[in-house]
Amino acid sequence: MSAHVMALKQALRRLGGKPVSTLLSALVIAIALTLPALGYVLVDNVASLARGISGKPEISVFLNNDVPAERVKAIETALRANPQVAALRFVPRDEALKQLAARGGFADVTGALADNPLPDAFILDPRDDSPTSFEALRKQIGAIPEVAQTQLDSEWVERLHAIIALARSTTLLLASLLGAALIIVTFNTIRLQILTQRHEISVKLLLGATRNYVRRPFLYFGLLQGLLGGLLAWALVVALLVVMAPQIEALAQRYSIVLSIGGPALWQGVVLCAFAALLGWLGAAISVRRHLHDGLMID
């Protein structure tokens, strides 16, 4: 146990002994981690927005504006009788206006309107949710003369989900690539350290140091350097979000999307730091394994 404390102290001394190069290495690691971490946080925000929206396909059927009430009734009866329709909901034009007004940002617009511009509408769930069958149903309903427009509501949701999935896998790919970069950076730092400390290592082995005793300070060094990089990356992510969030939210607002970008949760920061520390340790372990063979060390 005390051997670990000693190795940790030694690693800390090495980090503190060269503050500039320590900071530079940590910054390289931090920048490599910031990109995927920031991507993750942003995707996470958009995903949590999309999660509330059903991906189940619905068909919205908008009628013409001047359809008399009894014709509406007749269309409803016909739709209910259709075996392809599982459920049907009628949205009168007044309710549609109220819903619109309730959505953020539209209250002023709807209040300013003298007349309700919205039509009556039906929202129906197809019985069979294969794309071909509800496409057929949509065509069939579209043929009714009073129907102005039919719309598959799932389309944009599906598109959004696809975009989120793509963004997620891109982030993951980026994370693996830059994680590999982190391992390589640590590998090289440790390689140089072993080279410059050849003399010290050979003296220690001569005096009866075990392989573990010699290895340990390098492993702790890699771990601490990774951890430092992780902490810096987290600070960078938080700072960048503070700067970017208002702009992204303003952009979303233009598309009438109420988006509020939240910062990363504490546990996410902890995961980031642990991940960075683990990769640093791994890079050091590989480097030590590759460059520290006894045979070479005692001459």
Binding site: M6, H199, E200, S202, V203, L205, L207, G208, A209
Partner: protein, 217 residues
Amino acid sequence: MIEFDHVSKHYPGGHEALTDLSLEIRHGELLVLAGHSGAGKSTLLKLIAALEAPTAGRVLVNGLDVGRMRRSQVPYLRRSLGLVMQEHRLLMDRTVFDNVMLPLLISSQPPSDAAKRVRVALERVGLTEFERAMPMTLSGGEQQRVAIARAIVNRPSILIADEPTAHLDPAYAREIAALFRSFHAAGVTLILATHDDTLYSPYGARRVELAHGKLLS
């Protein structure tokens, strides 16, 4: 306690450094290894500390075949020996005190006890007042004494020194030799390679001469 049993050592690429050598070193003995340059003196000493492995034969230290022991056991063998190499191999970026402390840190001795033992070792080699000095600021003889203090700080029962006085002028060499003789007087088994055996022969040393990897006797 140390036995060479028909030992040969072939360096890869080089010629044979030791050929079918048999030698027994008894407990408490002062053994002086003489021989021309390249005779195999350093090789013989390295075999004892498992710094090299024999190509044939056995090297036994306290009954342990050190040429075939598990790699993980080698550090414990080295801790039981005191080693002073031809070049002193000090850490130049640490104080004299920290250099002598190193073997104790490596064998995880309790720190309070360790500091005491470092001071005893430094006193033994007459460097008490240099404990805070950096090795760079010391003379060659003083540096070699630091290396000796480092070798004895673990109180080994076997002390191995490879030409410890080779680079020193005669006055320093006599001083260091006297130091080694005092360890021997205290009961330590001492094995020395040297070009100048007059430093030890009058004091009951057993002299062994190597030539081209073989014992002359």
